[in-house]
Amino acid sequence: MELAAKHFKASATKALADAQLQKALGNVEKGFIGKRKKAADALPEFEALRDNARDIKNHVLAHLDLYLEEYEAKVTASGGHVHWAETAEDARRIVLEICQNANAKTVTKGKSMITEEIALNDHLSANGIEPVETDLGEYIIQLRGEHPSHIIAPAVHLNKEQVEDDFRRVHTHLKADRDLSEPVSLLSEAREVLRKRYFAADVGITGANFLIAETGTSVIVTNEGNGDLTQTLGKVHVVVASIEKIVPTLEDTAQILRVLARSATGQDMSVYTTFSTGPKREEDPDGPGEYHVVLLDNGRSSMLGTEYQDMLRCIRCGACMNHCPVYHAVGGHAYGSVYPGPMGAVLTPSLNGIDETGQLPNASTFCGRCESVCPMRIPLPKMMRHWREREFERNLTPSTARYGLKFWAFFAKRPKLYRLAASFGMPLLSMFGGTSRRFKSLPLAGGWTRYRDLPAPEGRTFLQAWAQREALKQEPLNQGAGQ
């Protein structure tokens, strides 16, 4: 996918003017926030579980190499294959080879952000293999030729009328009088079409929510069961996952699962949690004949040992974007990258470099709500600030902001000069504020006054007024001393 993050500002402005999108975004706020709160409040140990989940992942990240080796050994022992992909290109090539070896014409896909990250669908299509998304949201997005706008609810930017139109446009076998007015009827329509595709597919590709080192197992959670069908019906199952998805044990997985769905959708557990270990064994009634895991690095190992390491704890629950006022205002597409919202604002520069992605970590009020709900206690604002520091060091910060800041800092660092300037400036500004005590527009303050008035200052500065008040109280001998 083309990285459009550098157009964030323009995309955001467009998104703000899009009435349909704004209406759909209202559902993010209404839908997710209350549900998460209810689920968290209902579980007394929720906060302790968050600490636990964080500790488990921190431990893994400190010994990632060892756990990855253990995982590979276990997968191999169970008859599966592990492929190491350093870059997105490596991963695409490996998956294509596996598909070609299986003579695949069609592959079904369970929802996977990693395959979005490596733009797998385009690569498969370009090589004559048809990828079919099986998650309802992803399926809709695929019909529309779009990208997901949310990591767990890919089509959250659409309303059901738009989906109905798309189905009528593409499912030409539909009778005109078929009722598609409700989410359930849309779902059963998609199911009917997809069911045939599952059986036609030679290869099933899924992501993984966790990779368990102890057992060589991959875990996928869904609410539609499409992950299960994708991975059991094809002859070959390919898991595409990034290296930080490792957890040491089954027990650890159970711990993190307890915070995942609660944070994401407010469920105690997702409807389907599927564990797969290796290909079908002789005694198994069904399952894939081949089991492959493609382990993607794509820049992650270079985050280890840096101030961005904590980001590798992310379990992709989406809670941060569900609670982000900026995401609520502009939606996921405005970010112009695979990962939107606060987690994307940290991850995208890590994966793609800061040069063209600098807008993302800047487009935050640092309100801290993302961090307050992140089940893995990832300090998202802190890491966005680190990105701003990298930008500043490399002179990438826009020059108006840079010079404005330098001008201000010059005074902030020189209290005497600052006081002098303020004691002249503020009374003047106060005077210009007139009787209405406000500015409707002010030179150099257009960013502010375009949408809001600027309240006029009271007049003298506080320190000026204070010094005067104190001076009146002082003995004549040491008038104002110490002030």
Partner: protein
């Protein structure tokens, strides 16, 4: 005034007025002094103060932030407590200063010791000075906005409400999503003014729906943002810093509005 109970040893408090209060709204500074003195503190206002350094810090300019932080520490470390009428500035001093000096053993320790003395005004009054009642009175239906840094970094939420509910004549009408950002975010509001406007528009809608005739908060940045939007929309909702109401210092015209 019950506050004097703690006055056995008068703590020496350095008031960090914050740049916005200093420049735009001195009445908040005076209200803070009054509240602190009532609570039994000896209040000092060092002249070598400008700003806590947040604009530089959040723009990624660590070098300037550090210089400003050193200046603040030097000016204030002689006091028993350092108090700011702003959650975000107090949080800057308390939570963010030590990290600026990581690896510099001498300064890191100094900054850490300093940070422990720093407090946001309202939480300082209730949690440290054990103030239960400020003795103010005001006839108003107020609604309170929880500014983000104070709320999420310092846990300021119940404290202002507790003190406000003791103000005779005040009725609290909670707005929806009082804990959601108002869209100010320091330089964010000018760098991303479109998005900031969308966020503050929602906030102002919630303020209106609450039916309150006065909006209070503990951070002048957020207050100026919301006041600016309310004014632009022609609303009469009166906007003030919470310290002004708690101190009973409402002689200055409000930041916006004239009440309903």
């Amino acid at each position: 005034m019950s506050a004097l109970s703690n006055a056995a040893a008068q703590p020496r408090v350095g008031l960090f007025a914050t740049c916005l209060v200093d420049l735009f709204r001195p009445s908040v500074g005076f209200a803070s002094v009054k509240l602190l003195q009532q609570a039994g503190c000896e209040v000092h206002v060092p002249v070598a103060q400008t700003c806590c350094g947040q604009p530089a810090y959040n723009t990624g300019d660590r070098a300037d932030t550090r210089e400003i932080a050193e200046q603040v520490i030097e000016a204030f470390e002689e006091f028993d407590f350092v108090v700011a009428p702003s959650g975000s500035c107090a949080s800057m001093l308390k939570k963010h200063y030590p990290g600026l000096f990581k690896g510099d053993t001498k300064w890191e320790e100094r900054a850490t010791r300093f940070s422990q003395k720093c407090h946001e005004l309202i939480s300082f009054l209730t949690d440290v000075m054990m103030v239960r009642d400020t003795g103010a009175r005001l006839d108003a239906a107020i609604t309170y906005h929880d500014s983000c840094s104070g709320l999420r970094e310092l846990g300021v939420q119940a404290q202002p409400r507790k003190l406000l509910s003791g103000v005779e004549g005040v009725e609290i009408r909670e707005m929806a999503d009082s804990d959601v950002c108002c869209g100010f975010g320091g330089t964010f509001c000018v760098k991303y003014s479109d998005i900031s406007n969308a966020i503050v528009t929602k906030k102002v809608g919630n303020i209106d729906t609450s039916g309150a005739d006065m909006l209070l908060a503990g951070d002048l940045g957020c207050l100026m943002n919301m006041a600016g939007k309310l004014k632009r929309q022609g609303s009469n909702v009166e906007v003030r810093h919470v310290a002004e109401v708690l101190a009973g210092v409402t002689d200055q015209p409000p930041i916006a509005g004239s009440g309903k």
